[in-house]
Amino acid sequence: MRVLVIEDELRLREQLAARLQLEGYVVDAAKDGEEGLYFGREYPVDVGVIDLGLPKLSGIDVIRQLRSAGKSFPILILTARNRWQDKVEGLDAGGDDYLVKPFQMEELLARLKALLRRSAGWSQPGLSFGPVYVDTGSQQVKLNNQSIELTAYEYRVLEYLVLRAGQVISKTELTEHIYDQDFDRDSNVIEVFVGRLRRKLDPDNRLNVIETLRGRGYRFALEPTSAAGPR
C-alpha cells in the first residue's frame, strides 16, 4: 500500500516514514503543501496522512485541491489543534478521519488500516473467503483455521488483492503500490510472490485462489463469506 505523508516537521516526518515503511507501506513523504499536492496528484496513492498546518499551501487547501482533482483516496488529518471547529473544517474539506497531535503511532497505524479497508468497501478487519481468512488488523492469514507464515512482501501482495477481491489487478498496479518508484518494473518478482502465495494458500491446487488473466493481471477469485463483504 502506498501512503502519502505531508508533514513539515522534519523529525516527525522521518519517524512516520520509517515506521510506515517498517509496517510494509510504500511511503511518499512531502515537506510542504505544494510538494504534497504534487505527489498526491502524480503518484498512485492509496491513503494520505496530511498535517493541517503546512507551509506554502495549508493542509485544508491540499485536501480540497486533491478532492477537486478527483482524487478519492482516504485521508487521515493530523492536527495540532484540538478545537472541533478545526476538525469539522478538515472533515468538511474532504478528510475522512482525524488524529490530534501528539498521537501514538499504534493509533495512527490502526486508523490507516481502517481507512484502507473502508475505502476498499470492507467494514471489518477480518476478511473471510471460505477456507481463507485474512485479518488486516493483525496481518494474520489462516487457511482452514491454521495460521500460515507469509513474508512481508507476500502479505502485501495478498492484502492488496484481497481488499480488491473480484477485481482484475494489473502487474504494474501491484508493483506501484507495493514497491518504491525506483523498483525495476520489468522483473518477474511479482510472479514469484504470486506463485508462492498460490502454493501456500492452495497446496492441493484445487481452490484456484489467484487467477492469472493473460495480459491483464491477477484476480483474487474466492467469494467473500463474511457478512461484511465489499459493498
Binding site: W84, V88, L91, G95, P102, R118
Partner: protein, 465 residues
C-alpha cells in the same frame, strides 16, 4: 477624512452661496429692468412735453418757446438734451444744453415712428437717445415740410450710479445674512456633536488607562454604540483575565510532569523504564495542554455577533462524525424544534455539539439522536437554546457523572479519556451561565441535556435589535 464639522459646514456654505447668489442675481436683474423702464418712460414724457410746448405760427413754421417747462433743457450740466428737426432738413432746433455737443440724434422719422438707442460721446459720456416722428397736419399726406422728428437724450450716469448703489447694498446684506447663518449652523453643530467629542475624550482616557469604561451619559442615538463599546471592553477584559488565569494554571500544572521527566532522566535504570515514564507523562501533558488551552479559547458571550445557526453547525458536526465512524454505521437523526439560534460564539457551540455528539457516536450501539430547540421564556422574550444528545450505549457511569459535575473541578489530570469532552462542555456551558445534565435516555443509553440561556442581563442588547 474630513471631520463631521467640516462636512456640514462645506455643504451648508455651498447651499447658502448658491441660494443667495441666485436670489441676488434675480433681484439685480429685476431692479435693472424696472429702472431702465422708468428711464424710457421719462424720455417719452419729455418728448410729449416738447410736442405740447411747440406751436405752428401763421407762416407755417414751428416754434419752440425759449422757456421750456423743464429747466434742465437750458442747463448745460443737466445731462438732458433735446433736438427737433424738420424732415426735409430745412429747419432745426436745439435745446440750450446741447451747446457745443455733437449728439447723433435720429432724423427723418415718419409719423409715430420711434427709435431708442444708446450712444457714447467722444468725452466718454453714455447717453440714451429717444426720437419720435410727428406730422403737423391732419391729413395722411406725407409732406416732408410738415413732418418733424422730436429727439431727447439723457445722460446714463445717474442710472448707472443708482444701479451701483443698489447692487452694493443688495450683495452686502445678502452676504451678511449668509455669514450669520453659517455662524449659527456652526454653533448648532458644535452643540450637537458635543457628546461625540466627550466620547472621544473618554476613549482617550481609557486608552491611557485612566478609566476602565465609558462613564458619561449619552443621548439615545449614541447609547447603542457606547453600550456595546462598554460590553466589548468588559468582554475583552474578561477574556484577558481568563487567558492569564489559564496560562498560570497551565504553567503550574505542567511543572509536575516536567519534574517527573527530569528525575526519570536522571535516575531511570534502563531505557525501557524511561520509555514508560516518558509515555505516561507525555499523555498527561497532552491532556493538560489540550484542556487548558481549550478553556482559554472558549470565547463566551459575544457582543455584536450575528446569531449562529445551530442546525447548520449540528449538521456539519454530524456529517464529519459519520465519516469518522463510518464502520459503525450509526443511525443518527437530528430532530429540530423551533428555529434554533445561538447568540454566542460559533466555535464554542461547535465545541459543545462536537464533544457531545462524538461521545454519543463513540459509546452508542447504533443509534444517536440529537434534538435542538429554541424556547421562548415567558415574560422575558428571551430565547434559550436547548440541546439534547442521546444514544443507545451503556450510559455514563454514576461515578463519572459525579466527577464531571463537581463544581469548580478541573478535569485536567487523571481524567479517564472520554470524561474530558464532558468536562469541556461543562466549562463552556458554565461560562454562558447555562446548565449541563446527564441522565438516561429512552434509547437505553446516556442522555445529555444542555441549556444555554439567551443572554446574560448585564450584556446590553443592540439598540433596535
Amino acid at each position: 477624512m474630513l471631520s463631521l464639522n467640516a462636512r456640514v459646514l462645506i455643504a451648508a456654505s455651498a447651499v447658502l452661496s448658491s441660494f443667495f447668489g441666485l436670489a441676488g442675481f434675480t433681484l439685480d436683474r429685476t431692479y435693472h429692468k424696472s429702472a431702465d423702464g422708468a428711464l424710457v418712460e421719462r424720455l417719452q414724457d419729455h418728448v410729449y412735453a416738447l410736442i405740447a410746448a411747440a406751436s405752428m405760427d401763421e407762416s407755417g413754421r414751428l416754434s419752440i418757446p425759449a422757456a421750456l417747462p423743464d429747466q434742465r433743457f437750458s442747463d448745460a450740466q443737466s445731462g438732458l438734451f433735446a433736438q427737433v428737426t424738420r424732415n426735409d432738413g430745412g429747419w432745426i432746433w436745439h435745446s440750450q444744453s446741447t451747446e457745443g455737443l455733437d449728439i447723433p440724434f435720429s432724423q427723418g422719422l415718419s409719423r409715430q415712428d420711434s427709435v431708442m438707442r444708446d450712444i457714447t460721446l467722444a468725452d466718454g459720456r453714455q447717453l440714451r437717445l429717444y426720437s419720435y416722428g410727428v406730422v403737423w397736419s391732419d391729413t395722411e399726406a406725407q409732406d416732408p415740410s410738415l413732418a418733424y422728428t422730436f429727439s431727447v437724450a439723457k445722460d446714463m450716469a445717474d442710472l448707472n450710479a443708482e444701479l451701483a448703489t443698489f447692487r452694493r447694498s443688495l450683495w452686502g446684506s445678502l452676504g451678511g445674512v449668509a455669514l450669520m447663518l453659517l455662524a449659527v449652523q456652526g454653533t448648532i453643530l458644535r452643540w450637537g456633536l458635543a457628546p461625540l467629542r466627550r466620547a472621544e475624550n473618554e476613549l482617550a482616557a481609557i486608552e491611557s488607562g485612566q478609566q476602565p469604561r465609558l462613564k458619561g451619559k449619552y443621548p439615545p442615538e449614541l447609547r447603542g454604540l457606547t453600550g456595546n463599546l462598554n460590553a466589548l471592553l468588559s468582554h475583552q477584559q474578561e477574556h484577558l483575565e481568563r487567558y492569564r488565569r489559564t496560562l498560570g494554571d497551565l504553567a503550574h500544572s505542567l511543572k509536575t510532569p516536567l519534574a517527573v521527566l527530569q528525575s526519570a532522566a536522571e535516575s531511570a535504570q534502563d531505557s525501557r523504564e524511561l520509555q514508560v515514564v516518558v509515555k505516561e507523562q507525555v499523555a498527561r501533558m497532552n491532556q493538560l495542554t489540550g484542556y487548558q488551552l481549550q478553556r482559554a479559547a472558549t470565547s463566551g458571550w459575544t457582543v455584536l455577533a450575528a446569531p449562529v445557526d445551530v442546525r447548520a453547525i449540528s449538521q456539519k458536526v454530524l456529517a464529519g462524525l459519520r465519516k469518522v465512524y463510518a464502520e459503525k454505521a450509526v443511525a443518527a437523526e437530528l430532530v429540530e424544534g423551533e428555529v434554533a439560534v445561538f447568540h454566542g460564539d460559533e466555535g464554542d457551540l461547535m465545541e459543545v455539539v462536537g464533544n457531545l455528539v462524538d461521545n454519543a457516536f463513540k459509546w452508542c450501539d447504533h443509534r444517536v439522536r440529537i434534538r435542538i430547540e429554541s424556547r421562548t421564556i415567558p415574560k422575558s422574550e428571551a430565547v434559550d437554546l436547548f440541546i439534547l444528545v442521546e444514544d443507545d450505549g451503556p450510559g455514563v457511569a454514576p461515578d463519572m457523572v459525579r466527577y464531571v459535575m463537581q463544581r469548580g473541578r478541573r478535569a485536567d489530570s487523571h481524567t479517564p479519556g472520554h470524561g474530558i469532552g464532558l468536562s469541556i462542555v461543562r466549562d463552556i456551558v458554565q461560562l454562558y451561565g447555562g446548565s449541563l445534565e446527564i441522565g438516561n435516555s429512552e434509547l437505553g443509553g446516556a442522555a445529555v441535556h444542555v441549556w444555554l440561556p439567551a443572554r446574560p442581563k448585564d450584556l446590553p442588547m443592540l439598540q433596535g435589535a
